[in-house]
Symmetry: C2
Subunit: 171 residues, 2 copies
DNA sequence: ATAAAAGGAGATGTCAATGTCCAATTTGTT
DNA sequence: AACAAATTGGACATTGACATCTCCTTTTAT
């Protein structure tokens, strides 16, 4: 390649890439979102097993990636995976026994702050004022998620929508 | 290459790379953590300006990266940056006027869930039961962070540690 | 004026999360 | 035993957050 072109080529990505200092990522990961959608869908269909393809279609999750997420849920004992004809995914517990927190912690555990992120000897088990507040926020999320079971999600007589529904009509 | 060796070679990277399905990332980004440390430190020293190097040293944040974070905080009007000899970083408001939420939203805004992530027409402004719970969790974090100002963090007569202290002795 | 002391801006590197694809394996049915 | 359905799991690609480095610009004390 001619030397004179190298700098040109190098500068191109800089023009296309928009570098923003503030971030726009959601607080919960995509993986958590996907896992919750899949499990809620399974709860709706419970106890009938569903194939990965069916769940992917119903919840609009990329099926190949959903497969990975489901493997993780299986390792944590949330779902059962059955190979072969007539197989598929099913809940390993009754919807009344699974909370949102169970699902979240299975794929992306909430990391409570147990000690100062700076590694200071000055406080052993004590959190400083800042990190104490941050940990309280984490605790409130934990509490909120622990307080709702899958069964309650389905019974919830919200505006009218069970999951992000309309799939009930589809299947 | 002999055919019999191909599978051997392909399997090697799988042994070295440990692929984990569950994630270990904290709920709050590093950038948020860094921004909060820096601002709390500034509040402790308020209203004296501090150089980026001093803050980096005191809060154990990589100085080059801290510089970026501080630029972001400046754009949001949280801090003032003063060039030249005797310059440095200072709070743009009094510690009583800044909440933890102000800092968090400046660098990594909390994204409340306003509509269904699946894009369903069946519910316009309505959140389904699942996403309503998730949004409530986000709301609880917002509330927790909005309830504490920087000044309150400093006054907090915790175990005894203002920030992750010990720096008071150092300067 | 000028030199020193700061921050500003952008390229670059690295790693993990996300997402896709394909071959291997398991299992029920015929 | 053979076949087909379905999961399993590894390889690979892409993206963005995190982090560093280097050169540039601004400010101000002297």
């Amino acid at each position: 390649m001619p030397r004179c072109l190298e700098s040109v080529i190098r500068v191109v990505p800089a023009l296309t890439r928009r570098l923003s200092l503030i971030q726009v990522e959601p607080m919960f990961s995509q993986t958590v979102e996907y896992a919750l959608r899949a499990v809620v869908h399974l709860a709706m269909k419970s106890p009938e097993p569903q194939t990965t393809a069916l769940i992917a279609d119903a919840t609009k999750v990329p099926s190949a990636y959903l497969s990975k997420v489901l493997q993780g849920l299986k390792e944590k004992g949330i779902v059962n995976l059955q190979r072969g004809i007539g197989g598929g995914v099913s809940l390993a517990h009754r919807p009344e026994e699974l909370t949102i927190l169970d699902i979240v912690n299975a794929v992306d555990p909430i990391q409570r702050i147990k000690h100062c992120p700076l590694d200071l000897k000055s406080h052993g088990a004590n959190l400083c004022a800042l990190h104490l507040r941050m940990d309280r926020a984490l605790m409130s999320v934990e509490t909120a998620f622990r307080s709702t079971t899958l069964a309650e999600l389905l019974q919830d007589s919200n505006p009218s929508v069970p999951l992000c529904d309309q799939l009930a009509a589809k299947l």
